[in-house]
C-alpha cells in the first residue's frame, strides 16, 4: 500500500480536502502555456499561475525532468514539449461528432424503426461516416459506413444543398453538372423546393429518390469548424415511414437530435479557447 503524499495545506492556497495540491499546481503551470506555447520564465509562470516563485521553480524543474517541459538556457525560459500530446489528447479529441452521435443514432433508429445516416460531403457525393439500422428492421437499406450517396438523390445531400448560401450552392451545382450530369438535371428542377423546405422547416424530405419505395428526411449539423459540415438523415421503406409520419413524429425528433449534437460539440470547442 502506498502512502498518500498530501502535504499540509498552506495558508496561501487552501485546497479542497479531496484534491491533491501539488498536482493541481502542476496542472496550473502547464495551462499557463496556453494558447500558443510561448517561452515563459519562472517569474512569468508565477504571475500567470498565481503561485509563489519558489514553488514554481520546483514544479518546472520536476516537469522538465519528467519530459513535459523543455528548458532553454539561452532564454532562461520553459515551454511545453511534444510529450504533452500523450496526456489524453487523442482520447479527448476523438470525442468528435461521429463518436458522440453513434449511440444516439442507434437509439433513434430503434425508437423510430428506421435507418439513420451521418454523412459529410466529399467531392460530388455524400460519404456515410456512421450508419445505424433499427434492430427491428428485417430489410435495411444497402448503406454502410463508407458508402457514397448521390448529392441530389439522397435526403442528406439535399439537406446540405438546401442549407448552402447561394454562391456556395452555385459552385457545387456547377461542379455536379460536369461530374454527374444526370443527378444535376434531376436536382436542377428541385433546388427551389429544397431551399424553401430547409428555410421553412429546417429539414428536407425525399420520397422514393434514394431507392424506389423508400422515404427519407434529413437535417444538417453545424459544427464549430463550420456550418453544415455534416448531414444527419433517416430513411425506411415507405410502408413503414410515410410522409405524414415523417412530418408528425420523425422530423421533430430529428431536429431535437441535431440540437443536442450541436450543443455537445460547442461545449467541447469552447474548452479549447479557455
Amino acid at each position: 500500500m502506498m502512502a498518500v503524499n498530501l502535504p499540509a495545506p498552506p495558508d496561501d492556497a487552501p485546497a479542497r480536502p479531496s484534491e491533491v495540491r501539488v498536482l493541481a499546481r502542476g496542472l496550473a503551470i502547464l495551462r499557463a502555456f496556453e494558447p500558443a506555447n510561448e517561452w515563459r520564465t519562472n517569474t512569468e509562470l508565477a504571475t500567470l499561475a498565481e503561485l509563489p516563485k519558489p514553488t514554481v521553480s520546483r514544479l518546472t524543474a520536476n516537469l522538465t525532468e519528467s519530459g513535459y517541459l523543455i528548458y532553454s538556457a539561452e532564454r532562461a525560459a520553459y515551454r511545453l514539449s511534444t510529450s504533452v500530446l500523450a496526456l489524453g489528447f487523442i482520447a479527448a479529441s476523438n470525442r468528435n461528432l461521429v463518436v458522440i452521435a453513434r449511440p444516439l443514432m442507434q437509439e433513434f433508429a430503434d425508437q423510430h424503426n428506421l435507418s439513420v445516416v451521418l454523412a459529410s460531403p466529399d467531392g460530388g457525393s455524400m460519404v456515410c461516416n456512421e450508419v445505424a439500422h433499427s434492430r427491428a428492421l428485417l430489410f435495411t437499406l444497402r448503406v454502410r459506413v463508407g458508402s457514397r450517396l448521390r448529392m441530389g438523390q439522397s435526403a442528406v445531400g439535399r439537406a446540405l444543398i438546401g442549407s448552402m448560401g447561394d454562391a456556395e450552392r452555385d459552385r457545387v451545382l456547377a461542379r455536379l453538372e460536369d461530374a454527374d450530369h444526370e443527378t444535376w438535371s434531376v436536382l436542377q428542377g428541385q433546388v427551389k423546393t429544397v431551399v424553401s423546405q430547409m428555410q421553412r422547416r429546417g429539414y428536407v424530405t425525399a420520397a422514393g429518390t434514394l431507392e424506389r419505395g423508400t422515404n427519407g428526411v434529413a437535417v444538417v449539423i453545424d459544427t464549430p469548424d463550420g456550418p453544415h459540415a455534416f448531414a444527419l438523415g433517416c430513411a425506411a421503406p415507405s410502408g413503414i415511414l410515410s410522409v405524414s409520419r415523417i412530418e408528425s413524429e420523425v422530423a421533430p425528433d430529428l431536429l431535437a437530435l441535431k440540437r443536442r449534437l450541436e450543443a455537445e460539440l460547442s461545449v467541447t470547442a469552447q474548452g479549447l479557447d479557455n
Binding site: L6, P35, E38, N62, A91, G123, L272
Partner: protein, 270 residues
Amino acid sequence: MVRKRDTQAFAQHSDRAHDPGAEVDSLRRGLELLRLFDARHRSLHLIDIAAKLGLSRVTAAKLIATLESQNFLRPSSNGDGGFEPHVACLALGRAVKRGLRIVQVAQPRMLALSQRFGVHVTLSTRDRLHMLVVEHVVPSGQVRMGLDTGARLPMVNSASGRAYLGAQPEPARSKLLTLIKEDPSQGAFRQASVDAAFRELEKKGWCFLASPVTSQTNSIATPIRAAATADYVLTAMAVGPDIKHDLREEVAPDLLHEARQIAFELGAAG
C-alpha cells in the same frame, strides 16, 4: 539523452516514503494517469487506473478528483461510471501544436503528398520509448485507422520508429535500443530485422515496413534532419488491397524530397 523513466521504474521510485521529492510525486502520478488514455482506452474505471499505476484506490480517487476539478477528466459520456479525458487535455495539446513551427511547415506538404499518392502521411517524434504522432493527414475518402495527433506507435516495430532510431547518433541509439529490449510492452525484438532496417536507411534514406499489425498496410519513413538533429520523422502509409502507387518505387523519392524541404524551410526561417 535518455532520461525519461518508464512507468514501472517510476512506480518503484514513487514508493519510497522518505524521498525528498515525495511531494512532487502526486504531480507525476497525475500525469502518468492521463497517459493511460489513448485511442483504444478512451474511458477507464477507477479500479483499472489504480491497478495500472500500482496505487491504492484512495490515492487514485484523489488524483482523479483533482484532474476532474481542473477539467482534465470528466465522467464517461457513455455513463458506465468510468472517466475520460476532458477539454483541458485538448487545450494543452492544441497549445503544443500551435507552438510547433514544424507542424505549420510540414502540414501543407503532408497534404500534397497524401493527395498525390492517396496515402496517409504522419509526422511523429519520440516520446519515451514510443513514436508520438504530432500530425496526421488522411487521404480523401479514407478512414483514420485510429491514427491521429497523440497516438503512439511502437519503436522497433514501426517504420517511423526505425527511421528515428537509425537517424540517432551513438551512443544515444544504443542506449535507446537497450531500453527497448528491456521493455515488455514493445513486442518482439528481432535484431537482424532492425539491423537490416538501419542499413536500408543508410543506403536509401528510408525505412520500409510491411505492417505486422494489419495486412495490406505498408509504411515508408524518413527522418527529417534539421540542423544537427533528427527529432522528427515523416512517414507515408498505404492502406488496402488496391494500392495504386508503390511506396518504395514511386512514393519514396517525393517523401525524401518533402522531408528535405521541411528541414530547409525550418532552417531558413530559424
